[in-house]
Symmetry: C2
Subunit: 422 residues, 2 copies
């Protein structure tokens, strides 16, 4: 029996996982490689950061997800590069030979070389970043409760979210509700009118990818929840206690969450392949790498072009690309050629705390409560397991009915056998 | 209006929290001090370590728990000592003046001065330790999956639990089931007959505080689940890959969980008060400190004596002592004297994985499935909030019906703004 072709997939996010699933029952052996042992449901990461959900509710072990596939295995490793000639994916766990390679390493926060941002601002891309933001927010309230100086209290209680895209809008909305609806009950002796949630956006509008009326609806909804929306506000420098804007304006703030810049994973730069905007790897319309038809790039890492522009870094793009590549591999194994990828836009949505969201689904545009119901429905059916769905629903209902956030824990690091503090 | 007497309670565990609650509506101001912002439901910590529950399901924010009290506030701080003359609790947040002081700082793992244990073994007392154990166990399986050398695989897959008390028994049982029922499905290509779960106990029996037939039932139940029970096994030294016993026997193992020694929190030693066994502070029968009637010590930190022996380090002891001290403070404020504390033993129980537990409730002794139902009932009604109860029930039912552990995530540390790895 000749060995079956080996498909190595780097990255167990939405692109890589979807590709592995679409290869179920194909005559190949699939190896998924990721530096985490879990798949993260990123659309709800801001709910970990804002103390609604626990990590176990938005992340699933990769091994559990690939159990039904039978032809797939998993390796926990960091990808360093690719040896295209030897057909090996290079990792800190050694080289992994492949017959077909799917690169799906995703994206990371981009601070545009601003060292002060990298040092002081929190990204919101990874599960541990969500936990770190949660810890920071709760710590700042604890500190403020016992701080005598009023100006210092105001600085401690000012939370700045940079970036007016969906992540920034959702984080700012959730943060405003956390402080006004939930923490106000925990800190009865604290002057909570000092709390500021500021959303900073360099452009003249929020949610640039949405239609103009939805942008406005989102801004009004955020402001009604107490978020200060600052447009045309470009961040120049951040310190431990302030944000300096490009126009010289300064905002005292001791917590900065950065959602304004994203670039492709660093793996892309180590491949020796031509890169497009945001460091994304240029691919053929078939999602193959030029000159290496057995190598595919998908998701945020790929700079697939549609109508002259790169496709946005969105989950539906990654999933559709993953499915397309799986179909291409099946076709090639049957002797057919690769076909071009065509993106079908299912629409976009963003939620602004409880009761409000904006959704743009082709000709349909929803705002407010109706948009929120649509958001709830789409996210609940997409949270990956039935168990998570039940638990997420319990937590959401709890939050909704009792204005309470279940997970307000300041967790210390769970280090690999760290010495206990004395 | 004269200021109300100030009661400072050091520790928001079962003793301190119960005391604060029992002071509800008393004419005092209560300040709870703890180095964590949460109260931990320690009896289920082993379920975090064995990937059944998430931290948010066994820990509740202290501020949420004291909300209904109205006369209580919370401070996140480390207690360093007490200035009995000035009547101040000394913390890293400055001195806190008190009229009445309740010391309830609990206990910690005791490695009996064995540096190799302190370096290589995991304690199981704190929430972050539970997460660290979970990370370690899952990491070892990932490593073993891709390790070629069979002896090395066996070492990676050998998990030793030291200490045959309830914590050790529960951890060993849960670990055996995790590996045999759950991880076996995740690692189909791994020779899982290499997995060893070893429970080491220095005495000649498990569960020394239980009646003899229950000890035997627990041992049989563990062995039927695949746990190797080694009695009269005293640990002399631990390395990264082995355990050396006092009799010269060596067990290759790369994960050691230490539940065999517990001593009072270090705060006890810094007070200048006489200490009893396990570093516990000696108290009068009223739980007062000799010479300082306004200072009380309760819970694991206190060496309250009943019938010549110190009371065990158990939750019911801490809670009853907390209630007693609250009643004493109320009495003293009304001009009455302090009364002696009398412990009412409600019984003890320990669970051994699914379907099996031992319970000793006065004359009633339960084993097996009946004991397990009793354990389930007692723990479920005692998990603190209604929301937790629902979610814990969902997770338990999931585990029970599908032999699945929901929370198999290897989480990296959520450091306070740690630089991202490149």
């Amino acid at each position: 029996m000749t060995p079956r072709p080996r498909v190595v997939i780097a990255g167990a996010g939405f692109g890589g996982l979807t590709c592995a699933r679409a290869l179920k029952n194909a005559p190949v052996d699939v190896l998924l490689v990721d530096r985490n042992n879990y798949h993260l449901f990123t659309p709800l990461l801001y709910q970990v950061a804002s103390a609604v959900l626990d990590p176990g509710e938005i992340a699933r072990p990769v091994r559990q997800l690939i159990r039904p596939l039978r032809n797939a295995d998993f390796l926990l490793a960091n990808v360093t590069s690719v040896d295209f000639e030897q057909r090996q994916l290079l990792t800190d766990h050694g080289p992994l030979p492949y017959d077909y390679l799917v690169l799906a390493s995703g994206s990371q926060s981009d601070y545009f070389g601003n060292a002060s941002l990298a040092q002081h601002a929190f990204g919101l891309k990874e599960l541990d970043e969500g936990l770190a933001v949660r810890n920071r927010i709760l710590m700042r309230f604890e500190e403020a409760r016992w701080t005598v100086d009023r100006e210092r209290r105001r600085t401690l209680l000012t939370f700045a979210v940079v970036g007016g895209g969906p992540t920034g809008v959702e984080m700012a909305g959730a943060l405003a509700e956390l402080t006004r609806l939930v923490l106000s009950k925990d800190y009865r002796d604290l002057d909570l009118d000092l709390v500021r949630v500021v959303l900073l956006e360099a452009a003249g509008w929020l949610l640039g990818t949405f239609a103009e009326p939805l942008r406005e609806a989102a801004r009004r909804s955020l402001e009604s929840k107490g978020v200060e929306v600052l447009l045309k506000a470009k961040v120049a420098n951040v310190t431990a206690s302030s944000i300096l804007l490009a126009d010289g304006h300064e905002i005292p703030a001791s917590t900065v969450i950065w959602t304004a810049g994203v670039r492709a994973s660093e793996v892309g730069g180590d491949l020796g392949l031509p890169l497009g905007r945001q460091g994304r790897v240029q691919v053929l319309p078939t999602l193959q790498v030029n000159g290496h038809p057995e190598v595919f790039v998908i998701g945020d890492l790929a700079g697939a072009v549609d109508g002259g522009a790169q496709l946005p870094m969105l989950i539906p793009v990654a999933m559709q690309e993953g499915r397309h590549v799986a179909a291409t591999i099946r076709d090639v194994l049957r002797g057919y050629g690769a076909t071009n990828f065509l993106y079908k836009d299912p629409g976009i949505m963003a939620t602004i705390g409880r009761n409000s969201a904006v959704a743009q689904l082709g000709p349909i545009r929803l705002t407010g409560f109706l948009g929120w119901l649509m958001w709830l429905f789409v996210h609940l059916i997409n949270v990956i397991s039935f168990r998570s769905r039940l638990i997420v629903l319990v937590n959401w209902a709890w939050d909704y009915l009792f204005y309470d956030r279940p997970i307000r824990l300041i967790l210390r690091a769970a280090d690999e056998k760290a010495p206990r503090p004395k």
